[in-house]
């Protein structure tokens, strides 16, 4: 089956093409076809995962796309444990979300298009996971960016959604620019894009000295830039909460489970680069922990259910990034670390429980038609399936034994071993995570309804929406068990980098993290269920902190001032320059051309046409005079002929022969006759004469 694994990504593409060209008019058929394709992909992914268990080395296949001297670009697939796990995660969440969407998007005028976009996204995401070189991953990287744009802006008639999709696209583009430059550096200094070749040459090159460590550090940090954009890490995290304007299934699939995890996947995939550079890894780890703390503090005070989950996602992604960074740092310094395994393991678990949280939140929103958790309350009784699924996922993300989140979060805490600052902050985030998730749970599902009208309206969602929730809830509980520290061939010895890591159960750590998680939940219970600690009083007491948190640390405002305003000012200046100078120049040329044309027109009308018409006019006037000779009288003609003959004769005599008396006499006789004739014509005849002649 592994040989056919390229089909895993091509099937959703097929669905996309079929829907766009043939099925788009039949909504149910479109949805069914698209779900069918992703289910086939899912089955194939699971089979590929099991086949990967038994294989020692990664499966790689491809063909050469561009063949240059010293440089080969290929299109191919690479199946190793990391890919196999990602394939299963993406197809599982993808299938759940597509089935769920049948219910959630019911009645939407663009129902078929939604499924087409989802299929296109799944194609891009699976292609990204399957790619065997940096060139290909970049193409799919941009494709997921595009589909993310399309899906955030799916309800594009809503201005906030249209703005959000632009923001998401542009913000991630900043990171992608760094990624692209990183690719250039890899291409130029390392000479290939194929993962395995790159990693091998990096290891060799650094050891042999022909590759400067600075180059590796630069390339690694630049590649990480791409991950910062895509995984919404500080300082490019601002787009993800806004991306919640998209339909909730989209938030679940793209902005919680898969696409945002692509950055984590990229870091994990390029771990050789980071493991070769302690500096780059430290940058990664620091960015990860900053993001994690920052997002967690913001999530504490938000009111919008989807935004809380979005900040939670950012925070958890920061966790994974931090674990991977610390792993790279430790490995570069020659220490062992569970970071890589912890990061990827948490990536998988997080995909399941965060996908579930979003889908459940969508189900709630579907029921009460509001995003504000303080308009909900007591919904557990009305929405049993959704509610319990949500609670399970919340327990999981809080890290409660024995749910899946517990195992992976534990490993992340374990990976901070030897870095006390990181460890304290990680535990702090764990505490805040438990607190804000359970704040959300208590406010939404317990207590008294705050808005009676909405509460009365609320109802459980249809089965097509709840079954995916139940399925994901099971995964949220069980998925983590593949990484139990007691398993001899668990997750840690399957997806690893370098040499396999063998985790051991650390009871102290487990105890600490459980205490932290439970205390977070208890605090939330006291504040939002029991009411023994008033949230308002707490907010008033820590007014500055509360304000900072509630306003998201003013990131949007800061970016607005230091980035957007200058850029807009520059844009306006350019616009003015364009209008005044460039357009002025162009218009000036046009004005001069028109003027010149006017001059030429005047010349043409009065000089050229004047000459032509003048010639005609002269001929006309000449003819007007000349035609007077045309009297119609035969005798006048005869007289004229004679007169001209005489004239010519006279001239000839004068000029050629010099004259002779006789000729002269004859001429004069003829002239006399002519004159007499003329005279006689001019003198009116008497009536008698006329009579006698007639």
């Amino acid at each position: 089956m592994t040989e056919y694994s390229f089909l895993i990504c091509l099937l959703p593409l097929f669905a996309f093409v079929m829907i766009v060209f043939f099925l788009r008019w039949k909504e149910r058929v479109s949805a069914g076809f698209s779900i069918g394709m992703i289910l086939i992909s899912w089955v194939m992914s699971v089979v590929v995962l099991f086949e990967t268990f038994g294989r020692e080395i990664a499966y790689e296949a491809g063909y050469t796309f561009i063949d240059l001297p010293n440089f080969i670009l290929e299109i191919g697939i690479l199946i190793d444990p990391l890919t196999a796990v990602m394939l299963v995660v993406v197809t599982t969440v993808g299938a759940c979300v597509e089935i769920y969407s049948v219910g959630y998007m019911d009645g939407d005028p663009l129902f078929s298009r939604f499924f087409a976009y989802l299929s296109l996204f799944l194609f891009s995401m699976l292609g990204l996971v399957l790619a065997n070189n940096f060139f290909m991953i970049f193409i799919f990287w941009e494709l997921v960016g595009l589909t993310s744009y399309l899906l955030i802006g799916f309800w594009f008639e809503k201005k906030s959604a249209a703005d959000a999709c632009k923001k998401a696209f542009l913000t991630t583009r900043i990171g992608d620019l760094g990624f692209l430059v990183g690719l250039f550096i890899i291409g130029v200094f390392i000479g290939t894009f194929n993962y395995q070749d790159v990693f091998q040459r990096v290891t060799e090159g650094v050891a042999a000295g022909w590759l400067a460590p600075g180059v590796v550090t630069t390339a690694a940090i630049l590649v990480f830039c791409g991950a910062v954009g895509k995984s919404a890490q500080f300082p490019l995290h601002v787009w993800l909460p806004d991306a919640m304007e998209g339909p909730t299934p989209v938030s679940a699939l793209i902005h919680a489970a898969t696409m945002v995890a692509a950055g984590v996947y990229l870091v994990a995939r390029s771990m050789h680069l980071f493991a070769a550079s302690a500096d780059a890894s430290m940058v990664v780890a620091v960015i990860g922990i900053i993001t994690s703390v920052l997002a967690a503090t913001i999530a504490i005070t938000q009111r919008d259910i989807k935004r809380i989950l979005a900040y939670s996602t950012v925070s958890q992604l920061g966790y994974m990034i931090m674990a991977l960074g610390l792993y790279g740092y430790d490995t570069a310094l020659g220490h062992h670390s569970p970071g890589f395994y912890a990061g990827t393991f948490h990536l998988m678990n997080h995909a399941f429980f965060k996908g579930l949280l979003f889908l459940a939140a969508g189900s709630v929103i579907h029921a009460v038609h509001t995003n504000d958790i303080f308009e909900m309350g007591g919904l557990l009784g009305k929405m049993k399936k959704t509610g319990y699924a949500f609670l399970i996922a919340s327990l999981s993300i809080a890290g409660i034994f024995p749910l899946s989140g517990f195992w992976s979060k534990d490993e992340i805490v374990a990976s901070t071993h030897g870095h006390p600052v990181f460890m304290i902050l990680t535990l702090l985030v764990a505490f805040m995570t438990a607190f804000y998730m359970w704040r959300l749970c208590f406010v939404t599902f317990f207590g008294k309804p705050r808005d009676q009208q909405r509460f009365d309206h609320a109802h459980e969602s249809p089965n097509v929406m709840t079954y995916p929730l139940i399925f994901l809830a099971i995964l949220s509980i069980c998925a983590g068990w593949v990484g139990l520290p007691w398993l001899s061939h668990g997750f840690a010895s399957f997806a690893y980098h370098g040499e396999a890591y063998h985790p051991h159960a650390n009871w102290v750590l487990m105890g600490i993290s459980t205490v932290v998680a439970v205390s977070g939940i208890v605090l939330a219970y006291l504040m939002y269920y029991k009411g023994s600690i008033s949230p308002e009083k707490m907010a008033a007491r820590f007014k500055t902190l509360h304000k900072l948190s509630y306003n998201k640390w003013y990131f949007d405002e800061i970016y607005d001032i230091i980035l957007l305003k200058p850029i807009m000012a520059l844009g306006r200046f350019m616009w003015t320059f364009d209008v005044k100078v460039i357009d002025g120049l162009v218009n000036g040329v046009a004005w001069f051309t028109i003027l010149w044309a006017d001059i030429k027109e005047w010349f043409d009308t009065w000089i050229i046409d004047g000459a032509v018409n003048g010639a005609g006019w002269v001929v006309c006037q000449g003819a007007r005079i000349g035609r007077l000779l045309q009297t119609g009288s035969v005798q006048f003609y005869a007289l004229f002929i004679m007169a001209v003959s005489v004239l010519f004769t006279v001239l000839k005599i004068d000029l050629v022969t010099g004259g002779s008396i006789f000729s002269g006499a004859a001429i004069w006789i003829i002239i006399g006759v002519a004159a007499l004739s003329l005279l006689s014509r001019l003198v009116p005849k008497s009536d008698r004469e006329v009579e006698s002649e007639e």
């Binding site: 035969v634 006789i669 006399g672 007499l676």
Partner: protein, 99 residues
């Protein structure tokens, strides 16, 4: 020779005068005959006084008489048609070729 030529000139002038001044088409035709005959006299005179050895001048005179006869026939036919169309033979009436 001079008297002959003078006679021819007088005759020609008379014919010319008639052609130019007569209103009557028939009169014009007759004046035309006068001009022919003035030419004939010239032919004969020059033949007699300049090259008496051959008869070219006389031949030409005879020739002109013959052609004049034919011409007179055509002319008379035209006059007849004119008369039919204008109910008269006054040339002053025939100005349809005027501008």
């Amino acid at each position: 020779m001079l008297p002959y030529l003078a006679l021819a000139a007088v005759l020609f002038s008379a014919g010319l005068f008639g052609v130019l001044t007569r209103r009557n088409t028939l009169g014009i035709l007759m004046s035309l005959e006068l001009m022919f005959n003035a030419a004939n006299i010239n032919f004969v005179t020059f033949n007699k006084f300049i090259s008496p050895d051959n008869m070219i001048g006389q031949m030409f005179a005879i020739f002109v008489v013959v052609v004049a006869a034919a011409e007179a026939v055509v002319g008379m036919a035209i006059v007849l048609l004119i008369y039919r169309n204008w109910q008269g033979v006054n040339v002053d009436n025939m100005r349809i070729m005027k501008w």
